[in-house]
C-alpha cells in the first residue's frame, strides 16, 4: 500500500501516517519525490485497510499495491486448476466444455427431450433453472424441487452432468443434492452467506460475474469459496452493464485472458445472457473460444417462441448444432478441442 501525501503536507503529517501504519502492525517507509512524499506500507498480508489511512490529514490518495485475494491467485498456485465433475469430465484442461439447455426447467419431458438432443449434438453438461431469480415478483419463478428432480431424471437418461442455480443458503444444500455443479448467479455474486454455504457444499461451483463487478471483486467472491475449502470453482463471464443498448449486457472478452493471467481457475463464457439476442450467440460464442475460454454456456430451447423465460436468446436446436461445429473449428485453430459427452452411467 502506498500513501501519497499532498504536495504541501507537513513533516508532522508524514510522521502521523508512519505512526498509523506502525500502529496497524506494519512497517512504513517514507519515499521523498519531486512533487510530493509517499509513504509505503511494507509487509502487507492483504488485510491492511486503506480506509484507516485515507482520511488522515495531509493524505492525498492511498494506492493499493497488494491484492486482497490470495488462494485464487496464480501467485498462490501456478498450474491451472482442473475441476473434475462426478463422471470424470474435466473443466479447465485443453478441451473445452459445452454447457447447454433451456433457461428454465418447464416440465419433465421438456428437459429430458432437450437433454437427449443436446447430448447427440455434443453438449456435456445440461443447464436448466429450477429456482429462477426474476426481476419482477410476478414472473415465473421456476418449478423448485420438482425441477431439480426432472434435471436428475435427465442426467440418468443421458449421462449429461447437471448445473443449476441456488438462490439462498438452504437452496445450496438442496441443489448440491441433485446437481453436479451448483451455480451462483450474477445477482448473487456478492451474497456472502450464499457463497459461504456453496464453499462447504461438496460440489463444484459455477460462479458468474456480477453485473458490474470488477475482476478483483469477482476473484474475491471466488476467494470466499476457496476460503471455505472448495477449490472446484469455475468462473463464468456473462457480460457487464454499460451505456450500450444494442445487446443486453456488454460481453467483456478481455476478462478471459486477464483472469487467466491473475488466477489458476478455469473460466467459461455465457454469450446468451451477455447478448440477450439469439442471432448474436454464435458469433460471440466463437469469439469467446478464440479469446481463450475453457468452455461455453448457452441457452437452447426446443421451441424458443414458447419458452417460459428468455426465449429471445435461446438457440433453436439446429442453431446449437451449427454453434458446436463452429466452436470445434475455432478450438482446433488454437490447438484445443471440445470434450465429448461420456457414455451414460448406469445408475441401476
Amino acid at each position: 500500500m502506498l500513501v501519497l501525501m499532498k504536495y504541501n503536507a507537513s513533516e508532522e503529517q508524514v510522521s502521523e501516517v508512519v505512526g498509523a501504519i506502525r500502529a496497524m502492525g506494519y512497517d512504513a517507509r517514507s519515499i521523498p519525490g519531486g512533487q510530493r512524499t509517499a509513504v509505503g506500507l511494507i509487509g502487507n498480508d492483504g488485510r491492511a485497510d486503506a480506509n484507516r489511512l485515507q482520511g488522515l490529514p495531509g493524505v492525498s490518495e492511498v494506492i493499493p499495491v497488494t491484492r486482497a485475494y490470495k488462494q485464487v491467485s496464480r501467485e498462490w498456485r501456478e498450474e491451472d486448476t482442473l475441476v473434475s465433475l462426478s463422471n470424470g469430465t474435466v473443466v479447465g484442461g485443453t478441451d473445452l466444455i459445452v454447457i447447454a439447455g433451456p433457461c428454465a426447467v418447464e416440465g419433465e419431458s421438456q428437459i429430458v427431450d432437450i437433454a437427449h438432443m443436446l447430448r447427440d449434438k455434443g453438449a456435456t453438461v445440461l443447464r436448466g433453472g429450477a429456482f429462477k431469480p426474476r426481476t419482477s415478483p410476478y414472473s415465473f419463478q421456476g418449478l423448485g424441487l420438482e425441477g431439480l428432480r426432472f434435471l436428475a431424471r435427465a442426467r440418468e437418461q443421458t449421462g449429461l452432468m447437471v448445473v443449476t442455480e441456488a438462490l439462498d443458503p438452504d437452496g445450496v444444500d438442496l441443489v448440491a443434492e441433485y446437481a453436479d455443479i451448483v451455480q451462483v448467479g450474477a445477482r448473487n455474486m456478492q451474497n456472502y452467506p450464499l457463497l459461504r454455504r456453496a464453499g462447504r457444499c461438496g460440489k463444484p461451483v459455477l460462479l458468474k460475474r456480477g453485473m458490474s463487478a470488477t475482476i478483483e471483486e469477482w476473484l474475491l467472491a471466488a476467494e470466499y469459496l476457496l476460503a471455505e475449502g472448495n477449490d472446484d470453482v469455475i468462473l463464468c463471464e456473462r457480460g457487464v452493464r454499460s451505456f450500450t443498448r444494442h445487446t443486453r449486457n456488454l460481453l467483456d472478452l478481455a476478462a478471459i485472458p486477464v483472469v487467466k493471467s491473475l488466477s489458476h481457475l478455469p473460466i467459461i463464457a455465457d454469450p446468451s445472457h451477455a447478448t440477450g439476442l439469439r442471432s448474436k450467440v454464435i458469433p460471440l460464442g466463437r469469439a469467446a473460444v478464440a479469446a481463450g475460454a475453457d468452455g461455453l454456456m448457452v441457452e437452447v430451447h426446443p421451441d424458443p417462441p414458447h419458452a417460459m423465460s428468455d426465449g429471445a436468446q435461446s438457440l433453436y436446436p439446429e442453431q446449437f448444432a451449427e454453434l458446436m461445429e463452429q466452436v470445434e473449428a475455432i478450438a482446433h485453430a488454437i490447438s484445443r478441442g471440445v470434450t465429448a459427452p461420456l457414455e451414460v452411467v448406469s445408475t441401476g
Copy 2:
C-alpha cells in the same frame, strides 16, 4: 408492448406476431407506418413477456410500454407513503429524517456513546452494521447478534430508532427482532429470498439501490416487498457504478425527483457510501436535500482513523454538527424542516 417489424417483414410474419400475441391472451393491433409496420399488444397487465415475441421472424425490436411494477407506482397510489417508525417518527413527510452512525458496531460503549452524541446534534435514527457484507472474506465481518444487542442498548438509552442490515433470510428475522428498520443493502437488492422474507418481517425496510440498478429494477425490488404485504418501504440512493474514479460511486441525484414522480415511496440519500470521501459528504448531503430527498443517511465515527471499516468516509462528530446545520438551512430554503429526535421512551 409494441412490436416493431423489420422494414421488409412479410404479411405472414406480421400475422404470426398477431397470432402469438393472441395466443398469450392479449389483443393485437397492427399499425402501418412510413417505413415499417408495428404491432401493438393491447391489454397488457404487466405480465406479457417480451421474450416470446422478440425472436419471431420479421421482428426488429420489442418495446415495453407497460411498466412491470404496480403497487409501488404512483399510478397505483397517488398520495405519498408515510412510513411510521415504532416511536411515531414519520419518514416521507415534510420534515426530513437524519440517520447517522458508524459503519460497523464495534463495541457497546462505542455505539452507546456515539448515539448520545448523534442525538444531541439532531439525528433521529442510529445506523450501525452488525452483519457486514465485505468484499474480502478476510475483512472484519461484524459482531453479529452481539452487535444487535448493543444497538438495542443504544436505543434504550437515547430513544434513537435503529436501522441495521440483514444479509440472509434468517438474518432478517433476527434483525427485525432488535431493530426498528431492516436494511437491505446494495449488494442484495436483487436477493429475492431475502426480499420476500423482509416483505413479511413486520418492520419497515430500507432498500438501498443496487450498484448498477436502473430505477425500474429498483422499483421492482421494492415491489417484492409490497407484494408480500409490507408497504413500509424507504428507498435509499447511494450512488451507482460508473467509469469515474474521483468518488467511489456516482451519486445519482436525478433519481430523487424521478422516483418521486414514478412512485409514492419515500426516498433518502447516502452521501457517505456514494462518495467514500469524508470531505465530499457535506456538499453532497446538502445537494441531496436540495434535490428533494426525504432524508439522509451518513456515517459518523467518534474516531474515524481508528474505525474498523470505512473510516475514510466517516464524519468526525464536529463535522456531523456542521452537516446538520447546513441541512437545516437548505431544508428551510425549500420549505421543509428536519425531524427532531423524540424524548427517550422509558422502557422500564
Copy 3:
C-alpha cells in the same frame, strides 16, 4: 510514478527498470515489499511516460503518482480564479452567475425577446447556439454567422453578456468576435486544434465536460487553454454517460467539490443537458448550487413545444422565474448570492 514488479520478478528485471527510468532522465529508487518490489521514479515533472515502463519484463503495473496537469492545479495557484467578463461581471466569486437562453438562436426577435425576459428575471449571461453540433446530419444545424449577429443585437439591447459555441478552429475566431464567452462543447472537449485556438482567442472560454471524461482528462483539456495563455476558463459539468436511462445523462455533482479541491478554476453546472427533462431541471439546478457550483447554465425557450431543438428540456419563462427564486434561496442558505444583471451599456 511507481512501478510494481511481479512477485517473482528477478533482480535483473528490477535493474532493467531502474536503468530504463534513468535513461528517461529521472532518478529511480527500489522499494522492497512483503510480496513484491516496487521501483519509484523520482523527480517526475509530469512528462514521464508510463508506457515506456509498462511493457518491460517483470513489470506488473505502473501507477501514476504525479498528475499530468499543472497550471490548472490548485497546487500551481492556491486562490480561486475569478473570470471577468467584458462588462465587469465576475465568474467564480461569492455570487453565482446564471446563464440562460434557448438551445439555438432561431431568429432575431426570438433571441432579443427572450433576452429581455431573462434579464428581467435575473439572468446575467445569454446562451444560444449559432453553430449547433447535431448527432444527425439531417437535423437543424444553426443559423451560423447570422445567429452570431442576432446574439450581438440582443446584448446591445439588454446588456446581457453572450456565450455561444464554436465547432472548429476558424469558428473560434468568428465566435470570439461576436460573443463574450466562447463555448467548447462536450463533444469537442478533446478536439485539440479547437482548444489551442480557443486558448489564443482573447476571450474567456466555457469548457464543458466530455460525455465520458474523467476529471483528470477534463482538467488536461483545460490545461491546453492555459498552456496557450488563456487563464479565463470556466468549467461546466453537464452530466456523463452511464447505464441509467431515466435522464439523458447522469449529472455528476460530486465533480463540483472534487474540481474545487483540485483546481482553482470556477465550475458551473448545466442541469438542462444533464437531464434532458424540463421537470428535473429545477431540482437538479438547486442541487448543483447546494453542492457548491459557481453558477448554472439552463435552457429557456419562449415556447418550448415549438423549439427547433431540445424543446423537451427547455424551461418555460415562468419556470425560469421559479428556478431563480429557488436558486437565490439555496445560495443564501450557504452564504452566497446571485449576481444581478448590470445596466445596459450604451454602445452608441
Copy 4:
C-alpha cells in the same frame, strides 16, 4: 415515433399531441391501450424531432421507432460495401485486411524499416500517426507534415497502403494528399466539421467509434460522410469506456455482428487501443476475427520500450508474426482468408 401518454391523460391532451404531430407535417394515429393511450407518428422520414412532443402536457415518454440514419443502413443498401484502396486492395470482402504499424511516426528510417518488416509478415496497410491527439498538451504531438512524407516514402518502398489520422478540417486535405485512407479518431467521432471535410476528401475514411458512442451515434457519424458523397467508409471498433479497469477500454465485440446486421459498411477492430496491454492483443485480435470483423488494426513497434507513445500496447515484431499466423487459422476456421500484400507499385 410513438408518444406514450400518462395513464390519466385527458382527451384534450391526446388531441393536443395529435395536433402537434400534424403541425409537424406528419400523420397521427391514436392507439388506445389497457393502461394508457399511445399516439403513433406516421410517415416519419427520420427528421421528426421527439423533443417537440416530449414536453407536451400528458406525455409520459416518446419512443423513437424510425432510425435517424439512412444511407449507412442495410435497409438503404442490402449488399456489403466493398471499399477499394488505391492499389486495388479491397476492404469488406471475404478476405480480412491487416493494418499495422507504430502508434506514431518517429522518423524516416523507423517507419520505412518497420514497413518492410510488416509487409514481409503479411500486413497490407501501414498505420502511423503524424498528427497525434494527446490528452496532455505536454506530450509528443507527432511530426506533422514531415511524418506524412515519411509515410509516403514507406509506401513507395513497400507498396503498403497508408492510413493516418487527421485532427481538423484543414488537416483532412493534407492527410488525403499523402495517405490512402484518412482516419477519424475516437475523440473526433462527433467533430462534425471534420466529418464533413472527410466526406469530401476523395479518399476512403476509417471512422473509429467514439469512447462512449452508441451504435446509432456511430452510424450517424458515418452518415455525415455518406451525406457528403463519400461511400468509402470503414468502421473500427476500438473499445468503449466502462467501469472496468483491467484493460484501458472494454472491447465491444458484439458491435461487430450488430453493425453488420444494421449497416452495409465494413467493420474492423483495434485490439491495441481497446486493451492498452500488449499481452492481450493476440487473444482479443483472434476473438475479433472470430466475431466476424473484416480486419484488424494493431500497433507494432520495432522496439516498444523505446516508443515515443503507447509502447505498452505495441507488439514486438515477432509477436506480430505470431498474431498473423493465428489470425489466418481463425479466418480459415470460419471460411475466410487474409488479404496478402501486393507487389510494390513502381512509382517511377
